[in-house]
């Protein structure tokens, strides 16, 4: 090493991150998908895919991740009320990108209570339904390292991303009519830091690194859980959305739904599946029109709701096969 800090790309949040300023190791040039932009030039390189692994069996439900998320993203969730549960706020909001969901589940095999605590938030799907549904050019992007990010200045607040998401994650702000969700702390990751939630997690239930490393780490955890009697312990990396860049270690991987309705087999809704097939030029024109219309609509009127007419139009735009992301040899950034 010559003494200068080399940005080696993804690091686990456990290791002490660099304190020196360093250049961002990925950016615009690393986009593999860009919403409503079918002619996106293929990226010149493939970054190492990253992932956040949430080990539900190590999680103590302390909400440090929620707190760190609020602090890092500088949001102000409302002080609500107690409605008889520990889940607070009661749902994801435009000010709360991650949420601990608590489920009391009696295991029918043992008659023992299990308190299942799952950190909910964006899964960063390899095949992102939100991005595919999004009609606003560049409002949702995907980097070759797997991060799916919202670019808020391009967002028209139409809410298609909410419909497109198989996990029901994005939330539209009532204040600025834009869509918000977990960014996997792309701003932190780009400069060698792990996501804020992983950094704050006291038990390392949340870890971050390359997807390959995370899968290896998960394998060790699953082995440990099996030794403790959880025969169906496993990794949640659902193939229906091409795998995800946020994964769970579950004690009961055979029934994800017991964890506060985590989808057993998530898939992008048929509406979006058809939408994604639109032909390049028709699609571009339609989306350009819609985007402009929506922006004007957003400026002069408040809600940017998707009308049923929009939905119908979208369904009419039937095409064939979507352009596939370029396949590039893996390169460690």
């Amino acid at each position: 090493m010559s003494g200068s800090i080399v940005n080696a790309g993804p690091r686990t949040a456990v290791s002490n991150p660099p304190v020196q300023d360093m250049p961002s190791y990925f950016g615009e040039q690393d986009l593999v998908r860009r919403s409503a932009t079918p002619d996106l030039p293929p990226p010149a390189r493939q970054l190492t895919p990253v992932a956040k692994l949430i080990d539900v069996s190590k999680c103590i439900g302390c909400k440090a991740c929620q707190s760190a998320c609020v602090e890092w993203n500088d949001t102000t969730p409302a002080i609500g009320e107690n409605v008889g549960v520990y889940t607070n706020p009661h749902d994801l909001t435009e000010n709360m990108f991650t949420l601990m969901r608590f489920t009391e589940w009696v295991n029918p095999d043992t008659d023992n209570l299990e308190w299942l605590i799952r950190k909910d938030g964006c899964m960063h799907c390899a095949d992102p339904g939100c991005l595919k549904a999004c009609p606003a050019p560049g409002a949702i992007v995907q980097y070759t390292n797997g991060i799916v990010d919202f670019i808020h200045e391009n967002c028209i607040g139409c809410g298609y991303c909410v419909k497109g998401c198989p996990f029901n994650i994005p939330r539209i702000s009532k204040a600025d009519h834009r869509s918000y969700k977990c960014t996997l702390c792309s701003d932190r990751v780009a400069v060698g830091q792990g996501p804020a939630c992983a950094k704050a997690c006291p038990t390392q239930a949340i870890v971050f690194g390359t997807k390959e490393d995370m899968k290896r780490h998960a394998a060790g955890r699953i082995e440990d859980l099996k030794s403790r009697g959880f025969a169906h312990a496993g990794l949640y990396d659902p193939p229906g959305v091409g795998g995800t860049h946020v994964m769970y270690v579950l004690h009961h991987a055979d029934k994800p739904h017991i964890y506060a309705d985590l989808p057993d087999d998530p898939r992008i809704s048929p509406i979006v599946q058809t939408w994604k097939g639109l032909t390049k030029y028709v699609g571009l024109a339609a989306m350009g029109f819609m985007a402009v219309g929506s922006v004007i609509h957003g400026v002069f009127a408040r809600p940017n709701r998707v009308s049923s007419e929009d939905e119908e139009n979208a369904e009419k735009l039937v095409g064939t096969v979507a352009p596939q992301p370029p396949s590039q040899p893996e390169e460690r950034g």
Binding site: S67, A78, W115
Partner: protein, 812 residues
């Protein structure tokens, strides 16, 4: 903690009982997940509620709050019955073989010598037989019927699994599963750690809860070893420092005793504190008491403290009662016998039991000073907040001075963690507004008072006029100056007794550690156990070298641990009688033929031969105590005692209420309720989202857990027709509160002594100041009675009634 947080990673079995480490100590809990992930350690949780800790446990067993002694004596009985005892350790390192006096006995829930009138024991029979040579008589074969081991076997005999189920409500099969898992740790190569907190201390028999587990750990050979120990998780970042520095009315720094009226002069005070060894050749380290005491007095009064005036012993106040603990202070305040009160970093209006009594007491003061970074309920006790603080402001004449102080991040200094590490920290931000350091405020009060005494005299000005106060800036002593005083220094040249020409420490230099302290006035030391923290090598508390050779978890160059930077107390016991580690893979120290060497600072003289000197050097016996002689007020063995307010009677003595020797004030007896009127067993606790009454001032924490609630089982909700998320009223003779109901499967009714016991869980984070929604805390309802030995309030077990109601401010 006998061990350190970082040592928990070395364990095979974690037992969390009397605490909720994941919930209340989430950062420290990482070492449990580390032990589980790296060593395959198992985690057991025993608690009235299925807690956040239970959610990651390998096994959970329910227990009725306040019945832990019965459970633990049941486990001891199980281990003895099934020969799951680390025999070599038990025989060599405990007092199992010591012969107890004839006359000592136990029946009907009481030990010998009980005086119902005085609510106290005559403890004279609770002692060893002392031989003609002045030493305790022992029978290493354990055949003698009066040896501690045989008395212990007899004492635990009634605690069968059936009896445990009857008292604790723990189903027999679950109890047996826990007992079996624990008993496996009796081999020299398996260790268990006990992690506990206020779930054990906040009972009228709190100290005995801890004793019971300590005894279990001793017979399993788990004290002094890696991954073992009795690990008290402290509730605040510096509560360990508070007790170390003697911030209790009956203690001086370093666990020296405040003198009493029966000790009018120094020699009378010192006479019962000779600590002669009870067995030949034993260390009995408290024999150095006089050195520590004289050095403390020299730290207080410097040149004024001389041999001729007993080192200013007459300056020290003498207690006329066992202690002016906080319960006693508020009782006196409520009787109108206290004029002024300084609340420094303390919020008694929410922290102490029977809030009604606390409000009444504060209203009788002439003045109240609060020092706190945040606005506390105590500082606004006079302010009407509707139902949440329904006081008649006009009727309260107390003058309140609210002094804003800095918080930990705005000041420099050391905090002592649960593992006895004195960790120096640096100022991270500037204090807002008029906030000042506590040291500045205290210095201002002192300097002004001293000036008044100088001008006006007074009954006894000397202790104040002569107090050592030689700081660079008398108005604000620096943290480093204070730390150097705690370490101590030589006042004259300290010479080698063997070679008077050799100066060991020159006058004015810091002593290396407390081994250099003397009782002839040539040294001063503010707190002997901290000595070594800031010597001529510098500020050892500020060290940040995290190297850990062979990953033992010791981290000897990270900060400073008292005493002497030792990380695991009693670590001599990690090796067998010949000085070889019980478990070579978890060596701490070993005897190399001439001295003790290893990863930690040996807890024994470095050249003390292993077969001659016992590992428990602070005890006169040199061994640990399964039988504590007369050192505890409520018995030499723990015995089952019910809380003062209990849903069931004591099965061993139905007449006995609570701890038979706990102090109870007459005015509080009237506020006790019984199970007919108040059928439900309430308990109090923290939630991870909040830290005490601080974080409700923070918007983020408040968003994560916004509103006061109580937790009840689905069965109790059905019984009282309470809806999840609906409002309930919870009350007893001391108070009435309203809360949202969280109806949960995590609490289930217990079946105890033939009846169903419903548990009501009451978290403690809400009040009427801050960002979170206004609410109450469990202290409105808890009983005003403390532990018999140390007066910790028994906030963990009391009775309540419960019914559905409407929101505060809304008429039903």
């Amino acid at each position: 903690m006998t061990n350190a947080w970082t040592d928990i990673k070395n364990t095979d079995l974690v037992v969390v009982m009397g605490g909720n480490a994941a919930e209340a100590h989430p950062c420290g809990f990482k070492w449990v997940t580390e032990a589980k992930a790296q060593r395959g350690a198992r985690l057991i949780v025993v608690d009235p509620r299925y807690t956040r800790t239970a959610s990651v446990a390998d096994f959970y067993a329910p227990i009725r709050q306040g019945s832990d002694i019965a459970f633990l004596l049941g486990v001891i009985r199980y281990c003895i019955e099934n020969d799951k005892v680390q025999w070599e350790y038990t025989k060599a390192f405990t007092n199992a073989s010591y012969i107890v006096k004839e006359g000592f006995g136990y029946s009907d829930g009481l030990f010998t010598g009980y005086d119902e009138e005085k609510r106290d024991y005559d403890r004279s029979s609770w002692d060893y037989v002392i031989g003609e040579d002045g030493f305790a008589v022992t029978d290493p074969t354990l055949q003698h019927p009066r040896c501690v081991w045989n008395l212990l076997k007899q004492h635990v005999a009634p605690y069968t699994p059936e009896m445990v189920e009857r008292i604790c409500g723990t189903p027999k099969d679950k109890f047996l599963q826990v007992a079996q898992m624990i008993s496996e740790c009796s081999t020299p190569t398996r260790t268990m750690t006990s992690m506990y907190a206020l779930g054990w201390t906040q009972h009228s028999h709190g100290a005995q809860n801890i004793r019971a587990m300590a005894m279990l750990q001793l017979i399993l050979g788990n004290i002094g070893v890696r991954g073992g120990g009795m690990n008290a998780l402290r509730g605040h970042s510096n509560i360990q420092g508070l007790t170390d520095l003697g911030l209790m009315s009956h203690l001086l720094p370093g666990y020296l005793n405040q003198p009493t009226e029966k000790e009018p002069d120094f020699e009378t005070y010192m006479k019962p504190r000779q600590f002669r060894p009870l067995r030949p050749g034993q260390t009995s380290y408290w024999q150095n008491y006089r050195k520590f005491m004289v050095s403390f007095q020299k730290a207080m009064w410097g040149e004024h403290a001389t041999a001729e005036n007993d080192w200013c012993y007459h300056y020290l106040s003498k207690l006329d009662v066992p202690a002016y603990d906080i319960l006693r202070m508020f009782e006196l305040m409520n009787q109108g016998r206290v004029n002024g009160y300084i609340c420094q970093g303390f919020n008694p209006l929410l922290a102490f039991p029977n809030r009604g009594k606390i409000t009444s007491a504060l209203s009788k003061l002439k003045f109240l000073i609060t020092m706190d970074p945040l606005e506390t309920e105590t500082s606004r006790f006079w302010e009407n907040h509707g139902e949440y603080n329904d006081v008649d402001t006009k009727g309260i004449q107390t003058e309140v001075f609210q002094l804003p102080t800095t918080c930990f991040a705005e000041e420099e200094g050391a905090l002592v963690n649960s593992g006895r590490w004195l960790q120096w920290h640096w100022q991270g931000g500037s204090p807002p507004g008029e906030a000042r350091h506590d040291t500045w405020i205290m210095a201002q009060i002192f300097l002004r008072m001293r000036e008044l005494y100088r001008k006006e005299g007074g009954a006894f000005p000397d202790p104040i006029l002569h107090l050592s106060w030689d700081y660079k800036d008398p108005h604000e002593p620096e943290p480093e100056e204070l730390a150097r005083e705690l370490n101590g220094r030589a006042l004259t040249d300290l010479r080698d007794p063997a070679d008077p020409n050799r100066v060991l420490v020159a006058a004015g230099r810091q002593v290396v550690n407390f081994s250099q302290l003397r009782d002839d006035g040539s040294t001063m030391c503010g707190c002997w156990i901290y000595s070594g923290c800031f010597n001529e090598a510098g500020n050892n508390m500020a060290r940040r070298d995290n190297h850990d050779p062979d990953n033992t978890g010791a981290y000897l160059n990270w900060t400073f641990a008292w005493p002497l930077n030792r990380r695991t107390l009693y670590n001599r016991a990690s090796a067998d009688l010949n000085g070889r580690p019980w478990d070579p893979s978890r060596k701490i120290i070993e005897w190399d033929g001439t001295r003790w060497t290893g990863y930690d600072v040996p807890d024994i003289a470095p050249t003390a031969k292993p077969q001659e000197v016992g590992p428990f050097i602070m005890n006169q016996e040199g061994v640990s105590r399964l039988f504590t002689r007369g050192l505890m007020r409520d018995g030499p063995f723990p015995a089952h005692m019910e809380p003062f307010e209990s849903p069931v009677q004591n099965v061993f003595n139905r007449k006995m209420r609570g701890n038979p020797v706990a102090r109870v004030f007459q005015s509080d007896v009237e506020t006790f309720g019984d199970a007919d009127e108040f059928p439900f067993a309430a308990t109090s606790y923290r939630l991870t989202e909040h830290f005490h009454y601080w974080t409700k001032h923070n918007r983020v924490n408040s968003a994560l857990q916004p509103e006061f609630f109580v937790e009840i089982s689905e069965e109790l909700a059905a019984l009282r027709q309470v809806a999840n998320g609906g409002w309930v009223r919870v009350w007893n003779k001391r108070g009435s509160i309203k809360a949202k109901a969280v109806v949960t499967k995590r609490i289930r009714p217990l079946h105890c002594d033939g009846k169903d016991v419903h548990v009501v869980g009451i978290p403690l984070h809400w009040g009427f100041t801050g960002s979170a929604k206004k609410g109450w805390g469990p202290n409105s309802l808890a009983a005003f009675v403390g532990d018999a030995n140390i007066e910790t309030p028994s906030s963990k077990a009391f009775l309540v009634n419960l019914e559905p109601t409407t929101a505060p401010g809304v008429q039903s």
